[in-house]
């Protein structure tokens, strides 16, 4: 009796989790599937590279000025 009760509860829980899985929150799966996400990453990486080049050049210039002093 007790065993059947536990299996019944487990079955109900399993049914619930199965339902929860079908209603998954919406994510940008299409963006990943067709690879367009790489476009976004490339754009961001380019901007970041630009900022870093700017910072490194400024840092170099500053070092030069400090050495001349």
């Amino acid at each position: 009796m007790r065993k059947t009760f536990i299996t019944a509860i487990l079955l109900v829980l399993a049914a619930f989790t199965a339902r929860a899985q079908t209603q998954e929150p919406e994510m940008a799966d299409a963006l990943r599937a067709n690879g367009k996400i790489y476009v976004v990453v490339t754009v961001l990486a380019t901007i970041f590279a630009g900022i870093i080049i700017f910072l490194v050049r400024l840092d170099r210039k500053m070092t030069k000025i400090e050495k001349n002093n």
Binding site: P25, M27, A45, F48, D59, R60, I65
Partner: protein, 226 residues
């Protein structure tokens, strides 16, 4: 580039964040959806601000102990860079809130606390600009800096946790690490925090070096004239 290894580490870590932050899978959550990736960018802004304000406070104490105007330059420019990061944190937070809480500004305790903290530090800049005498400016702003730091802690960490807040980690609302900062997100989040902090310090040291140079130049000029 005096000591450059940490700058290279910074480039690697932030570069990794920008790339892996978008490519590594994240938990599927309601409301947040894909915006959970903002965690790698919004949260490190505040961590960097706190680190920079801490450095600023330490140099303020150092100035009060030593009386060296160089320490005041360190303190001031760490604070200025920290303020810049607080603005980034606030703007990114508002942009994120627009899509998850419904409004950019919902008078949330966390938003109000950080806004008050920002205003206190803005007043620090006003105070500095208002005083012409260098010694006086250094001394008064160092004392004010310590006061501002002591207020930042309760405004950002304590008060928002004592009332209901929408912000994760406050008012009965669990922080990310409790329910969804899974092992994949940690893989990006910790390098992100370290990388952004290093970037903040890099930006601050550039300002400091410029102003230390200017200070040295002005003082040597004064000596030559004497």
């Amino acid at each position: 580039m005096r000591t450059w290894w940490w700058k290279i580490l910074c480039i690697l870590l932030v570069g990794y964040t920008v790339i892996a932050g978008f490519l590594i899978p994240v938990p599927r959550l309601d409301i947040l959806n894909e915006t959970i990736r903002n965690l790698y960018f919004h949260v490190p802004m505040w961590f960097t601000m706190i680190a920079l304000f801490t450095a600023s406070g330490i140099y303020a104490i150092k100035y009060l102990r030593s009386g060296r105007l160089q320490d005041d330059i360190y303190s001031a420019h760490y604070a200025i860079t920290g303020i810049a990061f607080s603005v980034y944190g606030m703007l990114t937070g508002m942009e994120w809130a627009k899509f998850t809480w419904g409004e950019a500004w919902s008078n949330d305790p966390k938003q109000l606390g950080s806004a008050m903290c920002m205003l206190i530090y803005f007043a620090y800049l006003v105070l500095r600009n208002g005083l012409k005498d260098e010694e006086k400016r250094a001394k008064i702003s160092a004392v004010y800096n310590i006061f501002a730091y002591a207020l930042m802690i309760p405004l950002i960490f304590i008060l928002p946790r004592m009332v209901d807040s929408l912000h994760p980690g406050n008012g009965g609302n669990p922080a990310f690490k409790q329910y969804d900062l899974d092992s994949n997100m940690r893989l990006v989040f910790y390098p992100a925090v370290t990388g952004w902090m290093l970037l903040g310090f890099w930006m601050a040291t550039l300002r400091i070096r410029l102003h230390l140079y200017r200070f040295k130049k002005e003082n040597s000029f004064a000596f030559e004239n004497n």
